[in-house]
Amino acid sequence: ASLATRDPLRWRAPVDCVRANELCAAESSCSSRYRTLRQCVAGRDRNTMLANKECQAALEVLQESPLYDCHCKRGMKKELLCLQIYWSIHLGLTGGEEFYEASPYEPVTSRLTDIFRLASIVSGMDSAGNSKSNHCLDAAKACNLNDNCKRLRSTYISTCNKGVSSPERCNRRKCHKALRQFFDRVPSEYTYRLLFCSCKDQACAERRRQTIVPDCSYDEKEQANCLDLRNQCQSDPLCRSRLADFHTNCQASFQTLTSCPGENYQACLGSYTGLIGLDMTPNYVDSSATSFTVSPPCSCRGSGNMEEECERFLRDFTENPCLKNAIQAFGNGTDISFSPKAPPLPPITLPPKVEKTPPLPYDINDSNVLYDTSMITTCTSIQEGGAQANKSHEHSLCFSERSLTTALMTEQKTMTDPKASGS
C-alpha cells in the first residue's frame, strides 16, 4: 500500500530513524519528499521556506512515513547517523523555535529500582559498619575490583591526566572521548556510584567532584557564556540530542511528587551522564559536605540583553529540583516506585524561593496547566458579617504544591495608576 495510506500496523510501530530512513528511501514518494524537506530546512529563512506549499506538502507526506515518530537508542549501532536523520526531520516539524527540544531517544521505561536498591544495600551496609564510611571511596573500590570498570576508568584517567601539570594543556577532545566510552560501556551500577555517591564530609565531596578529572574535562581559564556553549552544543547532533534528552527527562515538573517527569529518576540520571564528555559536560561546582550544585562549564556573564534566557538555561542545572532529588535519592539509596513495598519517600527538595522565575515552568509539551504554577494561593474565609478587608482573618492556608515565601517588604504597597482611575 502506498505510504500515503497509513497502515497502522506497518508504519505506526515506531522504528529507529536509521531503519525509518531505509524504509523511506525504498519508497520513491517518501524519499523525494524527504529530499524536499531537507532543502526547505537548510534554507536561511526557515520559517518562510516551511510556509511554502511544496514544503508543507512534503511535511504532510512525511507525517505518514516512519520518519515521523522515529527515535534512537543510547549506545545503538549508528547512533550518530540515527540522530542526524532525526534532527533533519525534526527541524521541519518544530520550526526550530523551541527553548526545549524533544529528545530523540526512546523514553526510558526501565526503572532503576534495582540500582537504587544496590545503592541502598551498600550505603546501608556501609553506614552500619562504619558511620564515617566514604561512599565515593567505596564506589572507587567497587570499580577497581571489576576488571571492565577498572580498565575503562584507568583509560580515561590516564588520558585526561596527561600533561595536566605541564605547560601544554591536556588533550580535552581525547579526554572527553575516553569519558564517553567509560559512561557508555560500564554498567550504571558502577558509574552512578562514582558520580552520585552521597557525602558527609568535604574530602568525599571533593573526590566526587574529581570523578571526571575536571582539570582537563571541565575547568576553563575563561568561562564560556552559556548561550554560546548551548549554540556550540546544538551544532553537534550528539550534544544536541543529549541536551534535549536532559531537558526531557530532568525537566522539573510540579505535577509529580519527585519533581521528575514520570517520577523516573533513572531517566534523569541517565541523561545527565549522557552529557559527560561533550561540550555541555556538567560537574559539581562545590565540594561542600552538606549540599551540592552541578553546573555546565559556563556562566551568564556577558549575556547582554539575553541574560534572562541565559539564566533560565543555567538554572536547569544549578537549581533543578528533579535533578537534585534524583542525585540525592540515588546517593541515599532510595527510589520512588509506587509498588506497595516502596521504600519511604525521599526528602523532597522544595524548589527555590519564587522571586526568581521558576526554573522550568513548562514541560516539553508546554502543557501550561494553570495549577502547575509557582504561585502561592492563600484562601481566607472571611468571618460572618461581610468581608472586612485587612481585618484579622482566620487563615486556612492551602498551599498548592509549591510555596512562595514572599515576605512583603515593609515599604512595599499596592500601586495604582493615578491617571487611569479617572481622577
Binding site: 557564556n225 540583553n305 539575553m306 509539551n365 501550561n368 495608576d417 487611569a420
Partner: protein, 607 residues
C-alpha cells in the same frame, strides 16, 4: 516597535464561540510618533507536525487583542492534531508588528515577532465551579517582561484572563500590584493594565521586581494568589567609552624582551553599556582599536590587542552590568637589538555602535625602544677543571651582559682555536639561545701532562644583527688522577646506595666520582635520594643542552623510559620530578624509585 515579551501562553478549549477574546498583546514604541499595527502570520505551527493554514485565530490590527474568529470544534481538533501523541497539544502563532498597515506580507524571520503558544484542551470550557481560583487569575506563571531603555512610556501587560473571566461572571476577580515605593510603573485597576510611566535608563537600574496579586471572591470565600512580575531593562548602546581614572597615557619600554607577542603595556577603557559575549563574532567587532600611525615600521612592528570583560557598576545602590575593555600594545614581530627610537603611539578606540558624541577616544603609549649591547663584562673568564673530569661534565656557563633577561634575542657562543693543542672543552648553546654551557668533550686530553693551562678566544654573536662580542676563556687543569674500578657503570644514576655511588665515576662527573644526594621528606617528594654526576645541575628539573646529548648523563632529568615505583614525571614528560625514597636508573631501559627500608632478606624460596 517591539514586544515586551518573546512568548505568550494561553489555553484554548473546544467549542469556544467565535469572537471570544483570548489574549491581549501589547507593543511598545521606539519613538512617540510610531503607529502600531499587529498582524498574524497566515500559518500556524504545530510542534512535530509543521505548518498549517490558520483558519481560527485573528488579531485586532490596532488593539492587539487576539480572538477566536471561528470556533474550534472536535473535527478541527482531529485534523490539526491527527496522530500527534503530545500529552497537551499545542499550536504556535506568530504575531508581527509594523508601523504601517499589513499589506499581505510573508512571515519573515527578520520581522519583529512574538510567539503565542496556545495549549489546545481537548474538551469544552470547564464549568466555573471546577476551576481553581488561581486558574482564573493567571494564564502565565512566568510574568517577566523586557523594556528597552530610552524609549517612550507605554502599557506592556494586562493581567486579566478574558475567556475564563467572561465565563465566570459570578466570581469577582481583582488584581493589585505590590512594589517598592517610587517605581516608574503605574497600574490601572479598571482594565488591570500595567504601564511603564517614564523612559527608563538601564545604566541607572536594569531589573525591577514587582508582585501581581489576584483576589477571587466567590460568595463568602476569598482567595488571593501572588505571582512575581519581573521587568528587565534592555540595553541600548547609549553610553560612550570613558577612562576609569582619566589615564589615557602610559609608558611602553622595549628592552630585553624583543620577542613577537611581548605585551609592552595596557590601558583600560570602560563603557557603562553591556557587551554581550554571545554571539562572539558580532560583539568583538563592536569595539575597535586602531593604531593611528602612517609610519610603516610602526604599523608593522606593533599591534593593539583588545579583550573585554563584564563588570558591575553600582549607581545609587542597584547593581548594573557594564564592560571593561583592555587594550594591550603588543610586539608584532621580533625587534633587532640595534633598534633604538622613542615616539608616541596612539590607539584610537571606537565604540562602533554608539551614535552620540565622543564615540571614540585616543590612548597614548609613550614607546621607547632601547638598544641592547652585545658585550661580555669580563675581558677574561677563568675556570679550573679537575683532570678527573669525565666527558660531558659541565664546567660553567658563558653569558653576555643581561643574557638571562633576553627574549627574542638569539646569541650563539663559539670557542676558537686554543693557544695549545689541547682540545678538551667545547660549548653547547643554552636554552632559547641565551647562554653557552662549557663542558668537557675529550677527557683523555685532561690527563695529558703537557696540557696545564688552555686559552680559548670566545665569540658571542647575535644572529640577527651579526653583532659580536669577544672574550678570552682560560681553563686551568688541576688535581691528581684517580682510578675507577672497571666494574663501575657508565652512568652514576645506576647506583642505589651512597657507597656504590661515591666509589665510582661516570659520564658527566666533575671530580672523578659521582655525588650522592641524600633526600628527605615522606612519600613521593622532589627531594628524593639519588646518585648524580653533579648535584648542582642534576637533577634540577631541566634536561639541559648537555644532558640531552646522552641519557647516561642525567636520566633523572631526561629519561622517557618507564619509571617503576611511586613517582611524578617531569613537567615536559621527561625525567623524574618527584620520587619515593631512592631513585636509580638503567639509562634507556627503566628507572626505579623505592624505599629501601625493608631489611628482610630477599629469600628466593620460602619466606
Amino acid at each position: 516597535l517591539y514586544f515586551p515579551r518573546r512568548e505568550y501562553h494561553e489555553n484554548v478549549y473546544l467549542e469556544q464561540p467565535g469572537g471570544t477574546s483570548l489574549l491581549q498583546i501589547h507593543a511598545l514604541k521606539d519613538s512617540e510618533d510610531e503607529e502600531v499595527y499587529f498582524w498574524l502570520c497566515p500559518q500556524l505551527h504545530i510542534p512535530r507536525a509543521g505548518a498549517k493554514d490558520n483558519l481560527w485565530f485573528q488579531i485586532s490590527e490596532k488593539t492587539g487583542l487576539l480572538f477566536l474568529n471561528k470556533s474550534l470544534d472536535r473535527e478541527d481538533f482531529d485534523t490539526l492534531f491527527a496522530g500527534n501523541w503530545m500529552s497537551m497539544p499545542k499550536l504556535i502563532l506568530q504575531v508581527y508588528l509594523t508601523s504601517r498597515p499589513f499589506q499581505g506580507r510573508e512571515c519573515r524571520e527578520s520581522y519583529t515577532k512574538a510567539l503565542v503558544k496556545l495549549s489546545v484542551v481537548n474538551a469544552t470550557m470547564p464549568a466555573c465551579g471546577s476551576l481553581m481560583p488561581s486558574q482564573l487569575c493567571f494564564a502565565d506563571t512566568d510574568l517577566s517582561f523586557h523594556i528597552k531603555e530610552n524609549k517612550p512610556p507605554g502599557t506592556f501587560h494586562q493581567l486579566q484572563r478574558f475567556a475564563l473571566q467572561q465565563q465566570c461572571q459570578n466570581a469577582s476577580i481583582s488584581y493589585t500590584i505590590i512594589a517598592d515605593e517610587g517605581l516608574p510603573f503605574h497600574y490601572n485597576e479598571d482594565i488591570t493594565s500595567i504601564r511603564v510611566a517614564q523612559t527608563l535608563d538601564r545604566e541607572e537600574r536594569e531589573k525591577y521586581e514587582l508582585i501581581a496579586k489576584c483576589t477571587v471572591r466567590e460568595g463568602s470565600k476569598e482567595t488571593s494568589t501572588e505571582v512575581p512580575l519581573l521587568v528587565n531593562v534592555f540595553d541600548e548602546d547609549d553610553m560612550p567609552p570613558f577612562l576609569p581614572n582619566g589615564t589615557s597615557t602610559t609608558d611602553a619600554v622595549v628592552e630585553f624582551s624583543r620577542k613577537e607577542g611581548t605585551v609592552l603595556a595596557a590601558l583600560m577603557v570602560y563603557d557603562a553599556d553591556t557587551t554581550p559575549i554571545f554571539p562572539i563574532e558580532s560583539s568583538r567587532k563592536k569595539y575597535t582599536g586602531i593604531i593611528n600611525s602612517s609610519d610603516p615600521w610602526i604599523k608593522e612592528t606593533f599591534r593593539a590587542e583588545h579583550i573585554f570583560h563584564e563588570i558591575s557598576f553600582r549607581p545609587n545602590g542597584s547593581q548594573v552590568r557594564g564592560t571593561r575593555h583592555e587594550y594591550k600594545l603588543v610586539l608584532n614581530k621580533n625587534i633587532s637589538v640595534t633598534e633604538s627610537r622613542s615616539f608616541q603611539l596612539d590607539v584610537i578606540v571606537n565604540d562602533t555602535e554608539y551614535q552620540g558624541p565622543n564615540k571614540s577616544l585616543t590612548l597614548h603609549f609613550n614607546v621607547s625602544v632601547l638598544p641592547i649591547s652585545i658585550q661580555f663584562s669580563n675581558v677574561t673568564y677563568h675556570f679550573t677543571v679537575n683532570r678527573n673530569a669525565a666527558n660531558f661534565s659541565q664546567i660553567g656557563k658563558l653569558c653576555i651582559d643581561n643574557c638571562m633577561r633576553f627574549y627574542g634575542v638569539n646569541v650563539t657562543y663559539s670557542l676558537q682555536t686554543p693557544n695549545v693543542s689541547c682540545y678538551a672543552v667545547t660549548i653547547a648553546q643554552g636554552q632559547e639561545g641565551k647562554f653557552g654551557i662549557l663542558y668537557v668533550n675529550n677527557s683523555a686530553v685532561l690527563q695529558r701532562h703537557d696540557c696545564k693551562e688552555i686559552q680559548y678566544p670566545v665569540i658571542a654573536r647575535e644572529e640577527r644583527s651579526k653583532k659580536e662580542a669577544y672574550t678570552l676563556l682560560t681553563i686551568v687543569l688541576d688535581g691528581s688522577l684517580i682510578h675507577n674500578d672497571d666494574d663501575c657503570p657508565d652512568s652514576c644514576a645506576v647506583s642505589k646506595t651512597r657507597s656504590e655511588c661515591e666509589e665510582c665515576g661516570g659520564v658527566g662527573v666533575l671530580m672523578g666520582k659521582c655525588q650522592w644526594r641524600q633526600g628527605s621528606g615522606k612519600g613521593i617528594t622532589t627531594n628524593y635520594s639519588t646518585c648524580s654526576p653533579s648535584i648542582k645541575t642534576c637533577p634540577d628539573g631541566t634536561c639541559d643542552a648537555v644532558e640531552i646529548k646522552d641519557e647516561k648523563i642525567c636520566p633523572q632529568d631526561c629519561t622517557r623510559a618507564n619509571i617503576v615505583g611511586g613517582h611524578q614525571k617531569g613537567v615536559l614528560g621527561t625525567g623524574i620530578r618527584a620520587g619515593h625514597g631512592v631513585c636509580h636508573c638503567f639509562p634507556d631501559i627503566s628507572c626505579y624509585c623505592e624505599k629501601d627500608d625493608i631489611r628482610e632478606p630477599l629469600c628466593d624460596d620460602m619466606c
